[in-house]
Amino acid sequence: MAKPSKYDNYHNLNETYKVHLLNQIIFMSVIYLLIAISIIVAVFFFLAFIRAVKTGQYDDDYTPSVRMLFDDELIKKASDDTHLINKNNPKP
């Protein structure tokens, strides 16, 4: 019952209250925008998760943790090396 009354006598309200109400209306549409954005961001992350599962990133949860600690250990002796059979693939 409070809802319509605020707008009904809009013209009778004093100026400061008018500004206050206007602010509230703008603020409310900002809520729409923010929630829409937050949901979109959440959906984006959810899709990223689905993709990660699909490509098998969760199948092996141990090896990557070891792998990331390897540097390219070959380099430390590579200066005088003639034995490297295949150097064209420095991918770790």
């Binding site: 409070a2 809802k3 605020k6 509230q24 603020f27 409310m28 809520i31 729409y32 929630i35 937050s38 949901i39 959440a42 959810f46 998760f49 689905i50 599962v53 699909k54 098998g56 969760y58 199948d59 092996d60 949860d61 141990y62 090896t63 070891v66 792998r67 600690l69 390897f70 250990e73 070959l74 430390k76 002796k77 590579a78 090396d81 034995h83 490297l84 059979i85 295949n86 150097k87 693939n89 991918k91 770790p92």
Partner: protein, 819 residues
């Protein structure tokens, strides 16, 4: 690293055997070669991550010739195009970070390999290579030469790409997404602030929440609807019925609340509930991806074998193409895939996969050889009698027990509780409805739905998964690997234990050696030790380790005759050089006693290893000794029982009936009776099918049987029993299909595992009581007709958290205090 261990493989080496290279000690040339390969290619930091990580490369000459056969290679590849091929190879030796490093740097050792990736938990490496530059055979040879020999079996031949079921992960992710967003959006309503903008946008929030709950309700929870429907159809009241009912009522009531503007609904609790229950399901699943519980003979058998054609050309053929009458060539360490007749003069065959017997059996030309044995020693030829599927061993798999393994034959403890829970819940709901209907029809409807919502057995349904999941992990850490959580309940119910003898209660790692004959002098022992040093035969190695350390003597002449023994001439330790040459003969009875007519020969055809794995037809394996033409006696190899066997059986016999089944003859009855408790039943001469029938009979008498076995000959009994446990010396490699795999070193803890399984059932019961208390509190809110969304949102996670922490703490406590 200790001073005397090999730099590559860590094996302890005696001073005189050491090979020193690059200031490092190696145990053999194989290890040295691997080190050379790595250091030449600047990959010696292989040794920096882990100390002595390697394994000795084995001789594989000719073993992988079948990889030249295009059609076989195609079956093994995951992907194939002109210049790219991908293959996944399983490598049992993968065990440390050095292994990962070296295997992921394969492209530096071999041209044509573009990438390789290790999957550590599955012990697999996935190699991408260019088939125009390098063949699969070369890659396999490279891997073997650096000590990482891949394991290729018939199993790889049949399964292509196996699809992993990831639906639970998707469901869980979706449930969490919905739950999290709904929680955030419901917050304003919790505080019920009568503010203008909140009031205005209530419908927006509510309908958004409704929309977000739909995926969770329809997809994530779908497993419960299916399971509930199935259980109603089969007339069994399982726990999924009240869960599904609760979820559906939850959803309908909440939707009505929004539509009629009664309130905000219970979507937050609903999605939370679905999320937590799926989490429980996830937790319960603990897979040991490097183990397989579904193995049959296929994972033991090679893919291809060498066939000798009529024009004497050799050809690799898939073993399914082998026909009766074919001639096969079997190399050292190769498995005999079919029954047949030995054509070569003699052969040593190791049947340890089949029977658990470690000591090889000697066969002579014309003898029958059975599928499943591994050849040790020289190349042999054999003629095929049966094709693969008709061989003696593989026929076992045509038995019915191997077909119906999917069937769920037992009710879980949760299902038994819900058998009472569901009807009681419905009665309470209807009573509440009946009471309120005379006062206010709206409240009556509210009460009815609130009861079903609040009593939705979330805590009840979470108890078992979290307890079992936790116990599963505890047992896994103690090297007792269960197939799934249901096995724990079955373990707790077992009342009869059946053990296989050879390989299960005896170990095939070491033997108990005793001597029979003339007392040997110290000089003679020294001579024997030195002669045996040069031999690679398993029996020689065992005997060598058994004899006391001695100084080195010079061997003048040495000859090892496969299937017979060793003949050597050696400098005598007492006499000076020149005169003191001693003739030594070590080996089988016929071989050693050849020139002593007083000893009669015993040359009867040895029976099938499956019927009696005893090496020499009833008598224990023995090695005979003759020095300087004088027969001195024999060393007898007795089975060594596992550590702590009699204590374990003593403890077990208090609560369980124990039986020992053996394929052997009664030779060891007396020695077994001496060790084992009096009421242990010993049954000998059991064939694989008889073992299976024996278990079946026990079950028909209403007993819950646990079978503990090891070899392929126990496979039937393991499948038939309520719980089949397979004992394995090396869990990565061989174990027949079973419910649980026990590392042989933990055998003595079997009683502890059984006790812990019983205690975990106790834990579940305690937790059930706790969750019923929660239900009583919740129901009192519900029945009084004032279940606010906020109350539901508090009670539900609270009960979940307490239940989960309660069962985790209690089961951990039990695992610590039990001994």
């Amino acid at each position: 690293m200790s001073e005397n261990s090999c730099f590559h493989c860590g094996l302890n080496v005696a001073k005189e055997d050491q090979i020193v290279f690059d200031e490092k000690i190696f145990c053999c040339n194989g290890c040295k070669t691997v080190y050379e390969i790595f250091s030449l290619n600047d990959m010696s930091c292989y040794y920096d991550f882990e100390k002595s990580p390697g394994s000795t490369p084995l001789d594989i000459e000719g073993k992988y010739d079948f990889l030249e056969n295009e059609s076989i290679v195609t079956k093994l590849l995951e992907f194939q195009e002109n210049t790219t091929a991908i293959v996944s190879l399983s490598i049992p030796h993968i065990h440390c970070s050095s292994c990962i490093w070296i295997l992921e740097n394969l492209q530096k050792l071999q041209k044509g390999i573009s990438a390789s990736q290790v999957n550590f938990p599955e012990k697999k490496v996935r190699i991408t290579y260019n088939p125009e530059l390098v063949s699969l055979k070369t890659i396999v040879h490279l891997l073997s030469s650096i000590g990482y020999e891949p394991y290729i079996s018939l199993e790889n031949y049949e399964t292509g790409n196996n699809n992993v079921d990831r639906s639970l992960t998707y469901k869980l992710g979706l449930a969490f997404f919905c739950f999290g967003n709904i929680m955030l959006l419901s917050f304003p309503e919790y505080f019920e602030v009568k503010e203008f903008w909140l009031d205005t946008y209530k419908p927006f929030f509510r309908w958004l929440i409704f929309a977000l709950s739909l995926p969770s309700f329809l997809y994530s929870a779908s497993g419960y609807y299916v399971s509930a429907y199935k259980s109603i159809k089969s007339g069994m009241l399982n726990i999924d019925i009240p869960i599904a009912l609760g979820i559906i009522i939850f959803f309908i009531r909440s939707t009505l609340d929004i539509v009629m503007d009664y309130g905000s609904g219970f979507f937050d609790s609903l999605t939370g509930l679905i999320f937590f229950m799926l989490l429980g399901k996830m937790f319960q699943i603990k897979t040991y991806s490097f183990l397989s519980f579904e193995r049959d003979f296929k994972s033991y058998f090679p893919i291809a074998i060498t066939r000798i054609n009529t024009d004497f050309s050799e050809e690799s053929v898939p073993i399914y193409d082998i026909e009766k009458g074919n001639r096969l060539l079997i190399r050292n360490q190769e498995l005999i895939p079919v029954d047949g007749i030995l054509i070569s003069e003699n052969a040593e065959i190791d049947y340890s996969f089949v029977t658990g017997e470690a000591i090889p059996v000697t066969k002579k030309s014309g003898n029958k050889v059975f599928a499943g044995g591994k050849l040790i020693g020289k190349v042999i030829e054999m003629e095929v009698l049966h094709s693969v599927s008709q061989s003696y061993l593989t026929q076992l798999w045509s038995n019915d027990v191997f077909q119906k393994n999917v069937e769920q034959k037992h009710k879980s403890i949760t299902d038994r509780v819900s058998h009472y829970f569901t009807p009681i819940l419905l009665i309470i709901a209807f009573l509440g409805f009946g009471y309120w209907i005379f006062i206010d029809i709206n409240i009556a409807f509210n009460v009815f739905t609130a009861v079903l919502i609040v009593a939705c057995p979330c805590a009840l349904a979470l108890t078992a998964p979290f307890t079992m999941g936790n116990v599963l992990r505890i047992l896994g850490k103690k090297k007792f690997y269960l197939k799934n959580a249901l096995v724990i309940e079955q373990l707790a119910k077992v009342d009869t234990l059946v053990f296989d003898k050879t390989g299960t209660i005896t170990t095939n790692k070491k033997s108990n050696i005793s001597f029979e004959g003339v007392q040997l002098s110290n000089d003679n022992l020294m001579i024997l030790k030195n002669v045996l040093r040069a031999s690679n035969h398993p029996l020689s190695r065992m005997l060598y380790d058994f004899l006391p350390e001695s100084k080195r003597l010079k061997i003048i002449d040495f000859e090892e005759i496969t299937g017979k023994g060793i003949q050597a001439r050696i400098l005598s330790p007492t006499l000076s050089e020149g005169e003191g040459v001693v003739n030594v003969k070590i080996g089988s009875y016929e071989f050693v006693a050849q020139n002593s007519p007083s000893l009669e020969r015993s040359g009867e055809d040895a029976p099938s290893p499956l019927e009696s794995p005893e090496a020499s037809g009833g008598e224990r394996t023995s090695v005979h000794i003759k020095i300087n033409e004088i027969y001195l006696g024999k060393y007898i190899f007795n089975n060594e029982y596992r550590d702590g066997l009699s204590e374990l059986f003593e403890k077990l016999s208090v609560n369980y009936k124990i039986k020992v089944l053996s394929g052997d003859n009664e030779g060891e009855r007396t020695s077994l009776e001496a060790i084992l408790p009096k009421n242990t039943e010993l049954i000998f001469n059991q064939k694989p099918e008889q073992k299976l029938e024996f278990i079946k009979k026990l079950q028909e008498n209403g007993q819950n049987v646990m079978m503990v076995g090891d070899g392929l000959n126990d496979a039937g009994a393991l499948a038939q029993s309520n719980i089949g446990i397979s004992i394995s010396e090396n869990v990565n490699v061989f174990s027949p299909a079973c419910d649980a795999i026990l590392d042989a070193s933990e055998f003595k803890n079997l009683n502890y595992f059984l006790k812990l399984s019983k205690k975990s059932i106790t834990t579940i019961k305690m937790s059930f009581t706790l969750s019923i208390l929660y239900n009583i509190v919740g129901l009192s809110f519900a029945l009084s007709g004032n279940l606010l969304p906020l109350v539901a949102a508090i009670i539900m996670p609270l009960s979940t958290v307490t239940i989960v922490s309660f069962v985790t703490i209690v089961s951990n406590y039990y695992s610590k205090i039990l001994k």
